[in-house]
Subunit: 111 residues, 2 copies
Amino acid sequence: MNPDVLRGHMDALLLSVLEREPLHGYAIIEALQERSGGALNVPTGTVYPALRRLERIGYLASEWATVGGRKRRTYRLTDAGRKQLEGERSAWREFTNVIGGVLRANAVAPG
Amino acid sequence: MNPDVLRGHMDALLLSVLEREPLHGYAIIEALQERSGGALNVPTGTVYPALRRLERIGYLASEWATVGGRKRRTYRLTDAGRKQLEGERSAWREFTNVIGGVLRANAVAPG
DNA sequence: GCCTACATATAGCCAGCCTACATGTAGGCT
DNA sequence: AGCCTACATGTAGGCTGGCTATATGTAGGC
């Protein structure tokens, strides 16, 4: 998958994957891979900065935890994040409708 | 529409709008607006460089014409462009399936 | 001791869409 | 004449955000 097309959709992906349950960065990457059937291999250099940005904005909150001797920063959706996710979903629908509509509009000129 | 999300889809949009008939830059912008129901207002600074890039790659070819005293550069799809458009369409389908799938996968964890 | 998986983090690169500006014609209104 | 809007093309430079490359450290298998 060409990385360019992820532009502007990372936030939606991250918020969406955290909707069900809180996860730490590494697990988020794995979750994205699983849910996309292996199509999404988002590098750590994309995910970690994005998570921090989303926390700074207020859509996510995090706590440190130590599991099996390893430190994890576990992220969860805030109320604002949950609301934002709704917005991201409707923006996604509009986006696909608009672009998809143009791509499909290859029939004979109307009227 | 957040400009970021157009990233990586401009080529598909331009090729698609030229599939039916050759058009000049200004008309392409209008066609995108019409076909998107007004949602797509792509600025000239995006379209003209993109058209030149697509011509350089070989997906488009152009000729100058004078209509009503105004000069137009009319672009048309090449065979390579037509082939590329097919690729862009299937890439679009895959893209929407992958992202859309993740955004919708908010149910309880499977099995 | 070495390698892989797990886990987080940052500096700097780069593609490509956008803003702002430059240039010019045609035609309407005053 | 002067001004404005629509038509029409083009470029320089900026910005943004995802990616590459790298650094750091633990746990466990071979």
